[in-house]
Symmetry: C3
Amino acid sequence: MKQFLSVHDVSDIDALVQKALAYKANPFQDKTLGSNKRIGCLFLNPSMRTRLSTQIAAQNLGMEAIVFNVGAEGWALEFADGAVMNGTSVEHVKDAAPIMGNYFDVLAIRTFPSLKNREEDYSENYIKQFVKYAGIPVVSLESATLHPLQSLTDVITITETFKEKRKPKVVLTWAPHVKPLPQCVANSFAQWMTAWGNADFVVTHPEGYALDEQFTKGATITTDQDAALKDADYIYVKNWSSYEQYGQILCNDQSWMLTSDKLKTTNNAKVMHCLPVRRNVELSDEILDGPNSIITQEASNRVWAAQAVLASILHG
Amino acid sequence: MKQFLSVHDVSDIDALVQKALAYKANPFQDKTLGSNKRIGCLFLNPSMRTRLSTQIAAQNLGMEAIVFNVGAEGWALEFADGAVMNGTSVEHVKDAAPIMGNYFDVLAIRTFPSLKNREEDYSENYIKQFVKYAGIPVVSLESATLHPLQSLTDVITITETFKEKRKPKVVLTWAPHVKPLPQCVANSFAQWMTAWGNADFVVTHPEGYALDEQFTKGATITTDQDAALKDADYIYVKNWSSYEQYGQILCNDQSWMLTSDKLKTTNNAKVMHCLPVRRNVELSDEILDGPNSIITQEASNRVWAAQAVLASILHG
Amino acid sequence: MKQFLSVHDVSDIDALVQKALAYKANPFQDKTLGSNKRIGCLFLNPSMRTRLSTQIAAQNLGMEAIVFNVGAEGWALEFADGAVMNGTSVEHVKDAAPIMGNYFDVLAIRTFPSLKNREEDYSENYIKQFVKYAGIPVVSLESATLHPLQSLTDVITITETFKEKRKPKVVLTWAPHVKPLPQCVANSFAQWMTAWGNADFVVTHPEGYALDEQFTKGATITTDQDAALKDADYIYVKNWSSYEQYGQILCNDQSWMLTSDKLKTTNNAKVMHCLPVRRNVELSDEILDGPNSIITQEASNRVWAAQAVLASILHG
């Protein structure tokens, strides 16, 4: 693997999933693969699970991980070509990235969207410039439009929990939230589900919340949540802000919150969420504390997803 | 040892002290005990000595230590059961702690009191919820009411410096400060001194500063500092805010500051403090820079206290 | 080597440069030199390259590196002797530094000038107090007036790129900036160039920007940039605020920005800068993106400079 920015960088999703599950069974089987190798984890936006799971994955492979929180440590990057840098940004990505490329063997980056300018966010200009100028493999720790380590984790979690011969029905449902959130997790989950092809995949959301079609092509899309949830094996709950009216909150309808009542028509569906979750806003306590939630297992799988990706990159 | 939240988790204080002193003599004797083990150090409040000494102790045992500063890294936790999370807290401890429990082998946590609601602070609700939901051994790096790693350090320091056959007289004296501070260090020192039983233990403070009796039971308590200090072998200087008028500063009397003059009636007492210390407010320069201070030695022993505790937990 | 605060701590510059280049050729040749040794990296001011390169250098030598960001982690130090600490500073360097000296084998510190009080800044009071009270070797990661790891890097970079038998002409030129910056990098480069003696060294700047003579003694100094640049082999571009009218910006003349046009009279000069650089303010895009810039190579050499210094200190 040369980089990990989206599902397009993965030649065989199932093989990568099996690799991750092998690490879960035996975390230290490749303890020397990363000897004398170093990963830089650059956070332009904050992180908890992603940061910890990436550090742990690197350590399991014997790699040194160095974390750098750009926000907290006051280092404003410039991304505009030809900028006269007489404002607040202190360094251009053109100057910073090549040095990262010399200091590290792998560069992992988190960079969120502005949610103000759709064209700019969807150009993925920030992470692409790191790829262009760093000259080493880049791993997305969530970018403006995608969160591939989360999605790989989700495929791992579905794979390890679904024991039947048929394809599971997997439903991605929008949920309310108090803040306008990126579309990344939803986009990415849709992209991986459709690329994977081993699920009947349905997306449901209120009017005005359609995701970018490049990610949902091949999915069934409906604004009728009840219809979507019927016979579901997995429900992936996630808020996102509008793609059409970019970055806006168009709906506060609490009836979109997933509750135990809504599980009744499902196939005793397992409930997933990428975390952090707003309890009793996105998901009810009864679901989060009940037997259908596999959210802790899902979050724990973040380590094995990261480890499989890093190992694939170390193998080239 | 299953956890380390207070002296009640220690079956044999002297054995733990000797273990720590053995690590001081030979820091790397258990260099492989923590191989492939990982400690997460979660700071809901800032730290210097505690963070560094815990990291060093873990490294001495061959454990990986991962530090996570929640404040600085913007991750507000919710602790209220049944909360509708439509405010500023982004994640419930119920969701965060189990994942920590999957990512780490030991979880070390610092969480301060609010000093606004005594009942809530003294319930130790925050750290107890981590214990409840993490499912792995939890080590307190200072909680709302106690600071057991500091107190173990203090017993280590008294043990290694007192060479006589009799019990030393140990005095905990209140000192002025400019800010309302927690009662943790004072509570915890009293709890350990009374549980240890190898000292004549006296607590002295102005009117209104009595500590919670659950911690001072068995100690001599007086508001007469002069009488308390007479013949003292050790003086532990510490400010705390009022427990009775909870979190309030009731006294600014600078005559409570420990000065060289006050050492005259003592048995050439050694002076202790947990640091950080406000010079010429809590303690005079002449004491801090003079021969009676064992404060640097005390702070340095933080490493060996942490190492003994982590090793005991790794041994189960 | 006992400490690394300035060029005066180096007995043989060329030997240190060769040591660094040997590490560049074989980074892990001393992988066990730092076993069971620990470096504390204390940042009173933010850092990117310095922090990363020091961590990497330590890891290459098998040392544990622990980073502590004082600013971000809210720990205000007091440096005044005799201070009554009833204000905002929470701990005196006299109390903090000895503990660092017990926790670590080497202490690396970054501390910037105030740019308000020249006498105080140029006394280097902050880093000197750490040296005085820590009791272990101290490495400057940039202090109030000097940046020796950067300067060593610069000598390394000139050494490895200059292949002729004669001395190169090296020009340090002032450049515009939007903020008042320390004189550290310029002072230090001048100090190292004059101590090294293997270059014809010229400093050029506008009126009012003369550096402290203790650092530039032996250099040719001129306010005529064109004359300075003529036949130059290396141009070191750097802004600094006025030393005479201390901390002030006296000149915004954009004609001091280095552009490709100005390279015409040089000996196809290589262009250096310590980074971060304000594009199109200090240096034009065409230079930074063109063949004369050796800035990425220079920044990458920070690792080998730090590794050579740490190894020298570990060797005593």
